[in-house]
Amino acid sequence: MNAKDAAARIAAEPENAKETPSLLDGIRRRLSGEFDVDPWGFDEELAQLAVNASGVRWAVDVIGGARLPTKGPAMLMVHRRIGVSEPSVVAKGVHQVTGRVLRISGLPDVPVASSIFRRLGGVLDDAGEIDGLLRAGELVMVPMGWQPLHASIAGQLRSAAVQPAIDAGVPVLPVATFGSEVGRRWRIMIGEPIQPPKRADKIGTVEFAEAVRAGVQHLLDHPR
């Protein structure tokens, strides 16, 4: 190697070092406060770590992962049975395919728990909150009503839940989940994105919510 190459390599080194921070460096930055928390209290670095760690507990197969946008906003309408594993499972699946970390709606606003889960991507089930996240270009998961007894029937879906997608003009992806609460293997199916109606009157909203629910039901009826 000649001197020029060596110089180029040395010049390139700090950048490489930035891409793969060492554990020690990470801890130092944590202690000095130099990490990013977004306006919703989300800490991407920590959330990436948590999603990777969730592989110990869950193994997720994703069907139709190509339909997930790699950038830009979208709402994921997720079927759930009891709803304990589903948020982590879907977050893990989406992360496997796109490398993106989901924002999960349905966080209770109680003192300590809310700020812990906000760091990992939890947000309130509130139209104002989801509106802002979609405008900021995030992937937001919204769970449907829980369905502990009938695993193959899509849960309730209030039409207000899809309102932020209509307001932001963002597609909704139906997502079906297959697995059991104590099991390790889970499967998620992602359906065709459903575009929101241009005109947002009350009937349009109800019809759109119905179309999204039908999209989820279709996936549940035709499991692969």
């Binding site: 406060g33 130099e34 928390v37 306006p39 919703w40 209290g41 700020s115 906000r118 309130l124 802002g132």
Partner: protein, 334 residues
């Protein structure tokens, strides 16, 4: 009416544009007046309880007590402004104590709105408000936009809500556009701000970890929002927020200070001690540390075309880079 103000922000008309500024004695008022000093053909008249903090070439200043409404009305009637920039909204523990800040803010607001009804040339009113108006009730969005409901939870928030209500009432019965600029807590090296002072303490009581994020605005960015709203005769609320957010413990650590997680009754002790150290923590400051305070800056960017030049992290860095007070040895030789 309002022939003198043009939409593009240029003041091309023959007449000089007359702008009245309330609260000109504060850092923000002086900052806006300094910017206006750069413009040709602008005449500025300012009122406040303190004189401006800098020398202003084209401004006249009147020292008026806020409760002296008649004098405020008389000054405005004589000056015949084309625009009123109302920065005489006082944050508790910035320059005034909490009760005084509430009274002063409302007195000045009422006085200028009474006067404004009688000003034929008036084309724009720009009012200082704050993110505190949204309040942080349980289950309200963390990062509200301007369409979110106003439900203040703190005293300063209620003061701002009352100011906004007076302005909306005025707007309903006149056709003068009123822009309500909801500033994030304004922090900078030289501005008296309760939260800025607080974060520079050597030991900083913060919310229980992990603590909630808040956004700030640098004091140098304020004038851009105010002047854009005035030039465009904007109406309605606008969030003025720096991008990004930070938590109390991060902000303390970035300055090399020690954050102390504090819960419930611990805050009584913490607030008593920080008060003794010269940095009283107002109610809305406590809420900011324990519940967070951020907002969506999209509307100001899209309609006013203004974005903060400092991110929240840069605001904190700038705050900490300010050299600490150094005490010189008195010269005893003489």
């Amino acid at each position: 009416m309002g022939a003198n103000l043009t939409l593009a922000g240029g003041f091309a008309d023959t007449d000089r544009v007359r702008i009245a500024i309330t609260g000109i004695g504060g850092h923000l008022g002086t900052g806006v007046a300094l910017e206006l000093d750069q413009r040709p053909d602008v005449e500025v008249m300012g009122i406040d309880i303190d004189p401006p903090r800098r020398f202003l070439r084209n401004a006249e200043f009147h020292r008026v007590q806020p409760q002296n409404r008649r004098r405020i009305r008389k000054l405005l009637r004589e000056f015949q402004p084309d625009a009123i920039i109302h920065l005489g909204v006082y944050e508790p523990h910035a320059r005034s104590n909490p009760q005084a800040s509430h009274d002063r803010s409302l007195f000045v607001t009422e006085a200028i709105l009474e006067a404004a009804a009688e000003l034929p040339d008036l084309a724009s009113i720009v009012v200082r408000s704050g993110l505190e108006v949204y309040g942080r009730h349980r289950n309200t969005p963390m990062c509200p936009d301007e369409s979110c409901e106003i439900r203040p939870t703190t005293r300063y928030g209620r003061t701002l809500a009352a100011v906004e209500e007076l302005c909306r009432d005025f707007e309903r019965r006149s056709d003068v556009p009123v822009a309500l600029i909801r500033f994030a807590p304004i922090v900078g090296p030289h501005i008296p701000s309760p939260i800025g002072r607080y974060l520079r303490l050597p030991v900083v009581p913060v919310g229980i970890l992990p603590d909630q994020p808040f956004s700030l605005l640098h004091s140098d960015d304020v004038a851009a929002f105010v002047l854009a709203a005035m030039d465009q005769r904007a109406a309605g609320p606008f969030n003025a927020v720096a991008t990004g957010a930070i938590t109390g413990s991060q902000a303390a650590r970035m300055g090399g200070h020690l954050p102390i997680p504090t819960v419930g009754p611990g805050w009584v002790i913490a607030r008593a001690i920080t008060g003794l150290l010269g940095s009283p923590l107002p109610e809305h400051g406590l809420e900011l540390l324990t519940r967070g305070r951020t907002a969506d800056p999209t509307r100001a960017r899209e309609i006013l075309g203004v974005e903060a030049s400092f991110t929240t992290t840069e605001v904190i860095k700038d705050l900490h880079e300010w050299a600490p007070v150094s005490y010189l040895e008195p010269n005893r030789a003489a």
